[in-house]
């Protein structure tokens, strides 16, 4: 199955338009000029927030799509980075807040998130399928209750408030337009990295391990190490999103990492589709739009029912999420190199 991915780079070199794919270019153009047509609210609370959630779901897609490990702890991992920002950076809750500059606190948060992610992965890789889900759910739930009841480190239920995005290079990065572009660049880097990584030796090995771990072990690969490293990489993406989330909300509390939001990430990934890294972002936009505006459509009493029904319909019509819908109505598969999907056959 991996032959397809390798052979693509072999024949006649393509120009950059073909290599990127016209879809990517149009999407990039649209996202670049989006601030011209969108209000501040649509820029940050819809656009920025979707990209943050999309990145967290992307980290899940990386694990689930390429590694076959469905994790419910991705929001927790993002939360770790956000709490690190709150504890080591500045907050106005008068607890901790060491006031470290952002260029130390943010990388530290991302690094610690990745380390904890690897740790979670190291615990979870000994299991498979539904048991991985159970273990990561247990980790997420335990982390939530611990954060909610621990006041010395996590400041309990209220958590930390007054987190400020940095003012660097003469720009305050929580202003709508800078924040949007900040989220956009992080999301694009994460997206491209996952696409590129999926065709790297490591990515292909990971996919092979997903398909047949026993055979990979037999030919001499360290299956556990590969899986744990995938968790580490996913942790970097989720951690980056966690830092952005802390700057976006200006606060972090256990409510952000509770079981509801953790499952929300899985919903985003499933709704969008797990077969291509664009899926989580599509899912995030749909979910954020639904959760923001459903209350205007059916009123305060039943809006969660509408959200649930909508998701049910998507999954019912297309088990592969929105990406699956897209595939179904697509005439011919194009196989340019930027469009490989987890099984390497091209979308």
């Amino acid at each position: 199955m991996s032959n397809v991915a390798f052979s693509e780079t072999g024949p006649a070199r393509k120009n950059w338009v073909e290599r990127l794919g016209i879809g990517h270019i149009l999407l990039a153009l649209f996202l670049l000029i989006y601030p011209l047509i969108a209000s501040d609210f649509f820029l940050t609370t819809i656009g920025g927030y979707s990209m943050v959630l999309g990145m967290i779901a992307l980290s899940l897609m990386l694990l689930a799509g390429y590694g076959g490990m469905v994790s419910l702890a991705q929001m927790t991992i993002a939360g770790i980075a956000a709490y690190v920002i709150a504890i080591f950076g500045e907050n106005n809750s008068n607890v901790h807040g060491f006031g470290w500059p952002w260029w130390i606190a943010a990388p530290l948060g991302i690094f610690l998130a990745a380390v904890f992610s690897a740790l979670f992965g190291w615990i979870a890789v000994r299991t498979e399928g539904i048991y991985t889900i159970m273990i990561t759910l247990a980790i997420a739930t335990a982390a939530f209750y611990f954060a909610q009841q621990n006041y010395t480190l996590f400041n309990g239920f209220p958590g930390y408030s007054g987190l400020r995005a940095p003012e660097a290079f003469g720009v305050y990065w929580r202003e709508p337009v800078p924040f949007y572009y900040l989220c956009l660049s992080c999301a694009v880097i994460a997206y491209a990295a996952v696409l590129y990584g999926s065709r790297s030796t490591f990515g292909l090995t990971l996919q092979a391990i997903r398909d047949n771990p026993r055979r990979m072990r037999a030919i001499g690969y360290d299956v556990t190490a590969h899986k744990v490293f995938a968790w580490f990489l996913a942790g970097i993406i989720a951690g980056t999103a966690g830092v952005l989330l802390a700057w976006f909300n200006g606060r972090i509390s256990p409510g952000t990492i509770s079981v509801g939001p953790a499952i929300n990430i899985l919903i985003i990934a499933i709704i969008g589709g797990l077969r291509h890294p664009i899926g989580p972002f599509v899912g995030a936009v749909v979910v954020v739009l639904m959760q923001t505006f459903a209350i205007d459509i059916v009123g305060a009493e039943r809006f969660n029912t509408l959200i649930g029904l909508f998701f049910l319909v998507i999954v019912f019509i297309s088990p592969d999420g929105i990406l699956g819908l897209w595939d179904r109505f697509k005439p011919a598969p194009d196989r340019d190199s930027w469009h490989s999907r987890p099984d390497g056959t091209g979308v």
Binding site: G23, N92, Q149, Y151, G159, D334
Partner: protein, 415 residues
């Protein structure tokens, strides 16, 4: 072929993202945001808050200063983050200039912090009753006409010690700022009178299993002070009853509220005779209160008597409308005149006169109550006495009160 389809995708994405931002502008309406908990453990409470707010809107015929009131609802799940997200949507997307809410303690503190970033929007509290929403680092544009949780406890500690004869009391309360504030208000009086509180159990919101909490309550206490809300109160009380608990109860303001008293089950025996204090009393027979109850009952699915959430949202919404009438609906100067009018506002509510102090926190009457059964078999709060015009420092000198420190798990303490 693939190009056109991809273009279609991009176009549909574009229209999908941009279209909802085109909002209809109408000159003759005023938009008021209504933020309450329509999801999570406090849903029942939030829905009653909405009924209270709508009672006020209907009292004015849906108009203020000749302009139509448009109420836009936002939902949170009682976590501060969700409250800020909902407030942000109402303010930044729907463009409300007045926001009534939120419902719960830490939500109030979070929305107050958010209010500081939106100086042109006026925030009027719903029923959130943490002390620091207005007492420490207040926001200039955040008003609370509904008093805080410590004020609600006025008279209860003294009553429990002197009239009920409880010398030692155990505390079971939810683990966030509103119950801290309630416990603070209760203990301020109770400890001063000579009582002791040997054990305090803080439980997370939405807790289902209270067996370990019940087991941890010392045997020798005279009573248990319970400050839990909604589903949490029902769960604790029924589990305490099932485990054969015999100690009498003292109620926090929302523990023996209509949201709990109307719940089904064998809670009656446990609850009858429980003293509590709060901003409302069901057997209040003043004509203003009776008129309010009648108006409230016209709302869909209303309780036999309005809960304190309905009451608080009613007062908040009424203040919002009265302020609008005062300035003739003019919010054009970023609401500065409107907020000036609100700060000076003093009006008669179903529960007596309400006015604001320098921190824009209400000074109002508080009711000492006891749970009894009425003629129809409904559980209600019988009025014992009224503590008039309680201010935020509970009658203590402000500097001295401030020196008591911020409410928390450990403060106050009298083991």
């Amino acid at each position: 072929m693939s190009i056109t389809r991809r273009t279609l995708l991009a176009l549909s994405l574009a229209t999908g993202l941009v279209a909802p931002s085109i909002t209809m502008a109408q000159a003759e309406t005023v938009k008021i945001g209504l933020l309450a908990t329509f999801e999570g453990a406090f849903t029942v409470l939030g829905e009653d808050g909405e009924r209270g707010a709508m009672t006020a809107v209907e009292e004015f015929g849906g108009k203020a200063a000749g302009m139509d009131l448009e109420i836009i609802k936002g939902s949170s799940d009682a976590s501060p983050d969700s409250a800020v997200r909902a407030a942000r949507k109402l303010v930044e997307q729907d463009g409300v200039k007045i926001l009534v809410g939120p419902l719960s303690g830490d939500e109030g503190i979070a929305v107050k912090e958010y209010a500081k970033t939106q100086p042109d929007v006026t925030f009027i509290n719903g029923s959130s009753a943490a002390q620091d929403t207005t007492f420490r680092e207040p926001a200039e544009n955040f008003f609370r006409f509904s008093t805080d949780g410590a004020q609600w406890m006025a008279g209860l500690g003294t009553y429990a010690y002197n009239d009920k004869g409880y010398k030692t009391v155990a505390v079971v309360a939810e683990d966030y700022s509103f119950p801290y504030t309630q416990v603070f208000g209760f203990m301020a009086e109770f400890c001063k009178a000579g009582g002791t509180v040997p054990s305090k159990s803080w439980v997370p919101i939405g807790n289902k299993d209270y067996s370990s909490v019940i087991a941890a309550i010392p045997d020798e206490v005279d009573a248990i002070y319970v400050a839990l809300g909604g589903a949490d109160a029902v769960n604790f009380l029924s589990q305490y009853q099932q485990s054969g608990g015999q100690a009498p109860l003292i109620g926090g303001s929302i523990t023996v509220d209509q949201t709990v008293l109307t719940s089904k089950g064998k809670l009656r025996d446990v609850l009858i005779g429980t003293p509590a204090a709060g901003p409302t009393a069901d057997t209040n027979d003043s004509p203003e209160w009776t008129a309010f109850v009648e108006a409230y009952k016209k709302q869909p699915n209303a309780f036999p008597s309005p809960s304190l959430f309905a009451h608080a949202y009613y007062i908040g919404m009424k203040a919002a409308v009265l302020g609008l009438e005062e300035v003739g609906g003019d919010l054009s100067d970023g609401g500065a005149k409107y907020r000036e009018a609100l700060a000076k506002l003093s009006f008669d509510t179903p529960t007596g006169k309400v006015s604001l102090d320098a921190n824009r926190n209400a000074i109002a009457d508080i009711y000492l109550t006891e749970v009894t059964e009425d003629a129809d078999g409904n559980l209600i709060n019988k009025m014992i006495k009224v503590v008039e015009q309680v201010n935020q420092t509970l009658g203590i000198d402000e500097a001295e009160f401030r020196a008591l420190g911020a409410v928390s798990r450990e403060n106050p303490s009298c083991p």
